[in-house]
């Protein structure tokens, strides 16, 4: 397996009126070619900010720490994403080698421009094909994602399509430039359950066919279990646990991951009450000292959790966790 994108020590803060807010804190991970990584965590844990960083697309008030590095491996050698400046250079990570699907399919299409015009525009930006050719490819892609009557849909507006169809069109658009990495930011939360399943199946097929890497962002560990190879669990901007999906689900090490899993409805026992992770997410302005999870952790050991940041420990070569329960030499 060869690395497609490597993220190292990514730290992102936002300048706000209330001061600096940390959204992503010292995050590192690698995605290989053709690998699907799930990114889970509660709202505000920095999933979207991490994903947008891969396209260097965060808001103007974002501040990246000097140690942060994102390296994309392309046929023409490695690209340092965070060093890209000009719009021309950024195209490689914006719609070129990396595409993104957003949570709300309705809101991600410009309302007064046809689906087709937006698809053609993207294709022509990233290649030197003719308009005619771009149109052919777009209609073909719409057909490929299961949209009936694709030639008609091509000249329609987003508001004329159903929710599921919009998300399919979004997928078609994202894949039309044949990216190496697809970022799917909660691509199914806005859809109802049957359509969700269809869209997930469609994405699984397409990954296999195009051999793409995928980052699949969601709140839902159940969806991750169906789709991903590996999973990273985020809490307050930090990755608290990462490993192969089966391993993490069967054998969760971090108290937060355990809490998320306990919150999943069980098929065998549908009457059991749901037990969401107890407690409130701390305000981003009051980041807990030590282990960021200590204000809610049911297994808190003592002062060490409140004062000392737990480092990542490999519980096996592919599975790591950041918790003092698993630090080799507890301080």
């Amino acid at each position: 397996m060869t690395a497609l994108i490597e993220v190292k020590n990514l730290t992102i803060q936002f300048r706000t009126d209330e001061g600096l807010v940390t959204a992503v804190d010292d995050v590192s991970f690698t995605i290989d070619k053709g690998q699907v990584m799930g990114l889970v965590g509660e709202s505000g844990s920095g999933k979207s900010v991490t994903a947008k960083a891969l396209m260097h697309l965060n808001a103007r008030n974002a501040v990246y720490s000097p140690e942060s590095r994102i390296t994309l491996h392309t046929e023409n050698g490695p690209v340092e994403v965070l060093k890209l400046k000009s719009a021309r250079d950024l195209k490689i990570v914006r719609g070129g080698a990396i595409s993104m699907i957003f949570q709300e399919p309705m809101a991600s299409f410009a309302p007064a421009i046809t689906i087709g015009d937006q698809m053609v525009e993207q294709l022509m930006l990233h290649s030197d094909m003719s308009k005619q050719k771009a149109k052919e490819i777009s209609v073909e892609m719409l057909d490929r994602v299961g949209i009936s009557d694709p030639a008609r849909r091509f000249s329609q507006y987003a508001f004329e399509l159903s929710g599921g169809m919009r998300q399919r069109a979004m997928i078609a658009m994202a894949l039309s430039t044949k990216p190496k990495l697809l970022i799917a930011d909660e691509p199914t939360t806005a859809l109802d359950v049957t359509i969700q399943a269809q869209v997930i199946d469609l994405m699984k097929d397409l990954v296999r066919e195009f051999h793409m890497g995928i980052i699949f962002i969601t709140h839902d560990l159940g969806v991750i279990a169906q789709t991903a190879d590996k999973v990273a669990v985020k809490y307050l901007g930090r990755i608290v646990e990462e490993g192969p999906v089966r391993e993490v689900i069967r054998n969760p090490k971090h108290p937060y991951t355990q809490g998320l899993l306990a919150a999943l409805p069980k098929l065998e026992d549908l009457d059991a009450p749901l037990t969401p992770v107890a407690g409130d997410i701390p305000s981003p302005l009051e980041r807990p000292s030590g282990c960021v999870f200590h204000t809610r952790c049911p297994k808190i050991i003592g002062d060490v959790c409140k004062s000392k940041l737990p480092h990542h420990t490999q519980v096996d070569p592919t599975h790591r966790v950041a918790c003092h329960l698993h630090t080799e030499v507890p301080a």
Binding site: L90, G95, S108, E121, Q122, L125, F159
Partner: protein, 322 residues
């Protein structure tokens, strides 16, 4: 649709005219009375009959509407006893022209500047724009008009008041007169446009900022769209709809400010005439005609903006075509 609105407006205007205490006949004769004539009850009755005031309300309304819509005829003024159409003559069109020019001027400035400033990160641009638009909002039109008059009187010995130079005031329309008109009309247009621009700038900027924050703009950037294309094709194009929507409202506001500016610059145009007829002489026929014309212009503008909206927004277009 526009026609129904107009009919409704005419009904409201006509009812208002009726609600003014006293009838046209009484008013005229009372006016005569103050001039020294002896008036009897019989005179009033006779006058009422002559004016058709003894007829029932719906009939009189129908007649009024018929005359206005079919002949463009507003009848006679109560007090001045002159035909209203002759009385207003070009005045209404001149003031409408001035207001429209001020409206166009303000948006011609506000749209590009508002769009660019909303996307600009430079604090200098933003703060100077903010300063200028506060100035526009805070400095009342009448003060601005006075200042300009003062300056021009001191510098050029001409107060720039009135819409025509002396030699053209009573002349018939000609190219020379029109030229003279233009050389003076820029001042009220500028003064009215001043605060209208400040308003429009704020509207455009707010709408643009709103659009820029939307997900589809981020999504377009994520596809590699950048620079001018990302600004004009995406948020700018989409913020145009609400901007057009606000045009009718703005014209209304400019109309409201016209009388004050007109008073200071001693322009003899409709706005001032309206005030005069309402306040001094209770001339309901004349006032009704002016109010109706103003409302009709705004209804017409709204109709035009609806068509424009349908042209640029596919949602409106498809909505119209079913």
């Amino acid at each position: 649709m526009a026609l129904v609105t107009l009919l409704t407006v005419s009904l409201i205007v006509f009812t208002l005219m009726e609600l003014v205490p006293g009838t046209c006949a009484e008013r005229y004769l009372a006016f005569k009375n103050t001039q020294g004539s002896q008036i009897t009850i019989a005179d009033i009755e006779a006058e009422k009959k002559r004016l058709g005031l003894d007829r029932p309300f719906p009939e009189r309304w129908g007649k009024w509407v018929y005359n206005v819509f079919v002949h463009g005829e507003f009848g006679d003024s109560c007090i001045l006893r002159l035909n209203i159409n002759q009385l207003l003559a070009d005045k209404f069109w001149i003031s409408l022209g001035i207001c429209m020019a001020a409206l166009i001027l303000s948006y011609a400035i506000a749209v590009p500047i508002g769009i660019i400033s909303a996307s600009s990160q430079s604090p200098i641009t933003n703060n100077s724009l903010r300063f200028v638009s506060y100035l526009g909002l805070a400095l009342p039109n009448f003060l601005l008009a006075l200042i300009i008059m003062l300056i021009s009187t001191v510098l050029f010995g001409d107060s720039l008041t009135g819409l025509f130079s002396k030699e053209y005031r009573d002349a018939a329309w000609s190219w020379a007169k029109f030229g003279d008109f233009l050389s003076r009309a820029w001042l009220p247009v500028f003064i009215l446009g001043w605060s209208a621009t400040a308003f429009a700038l704020q509207t455009v900027r707010a709408l643009m900022l709103d659009e820029i924050g939307k997900l589809y703009v981020t999504a377009a950037a994520a596809r590699g769209v950048s620079g001018r294309k990302l600004l004009w094709r995406y948020p700018a194009k989409h913020s145009l709809g609400p901007v057009i929507n606000s045009l009718g409202f703005d014209l209304n506001r400019i109309f409201n400010e016209l009388p004050i500016v007109a008073l200071i610059l001693t322009l003899t145009e409709a706005g001032a005439l309206l005030f005069e007829s309402l306040a001094r002489s209770n001339d309901q026929q004349l006032a009704g005609a002016i109010i109706f014309l103003l409302t009709a212009s705004i209804v017409a503008l709204n109709f035009a903006t609806d068509i424009l909206l349908a042209l640029i927004d596919p949602r409106v277009r498809r909505g119209l075509m079913g």
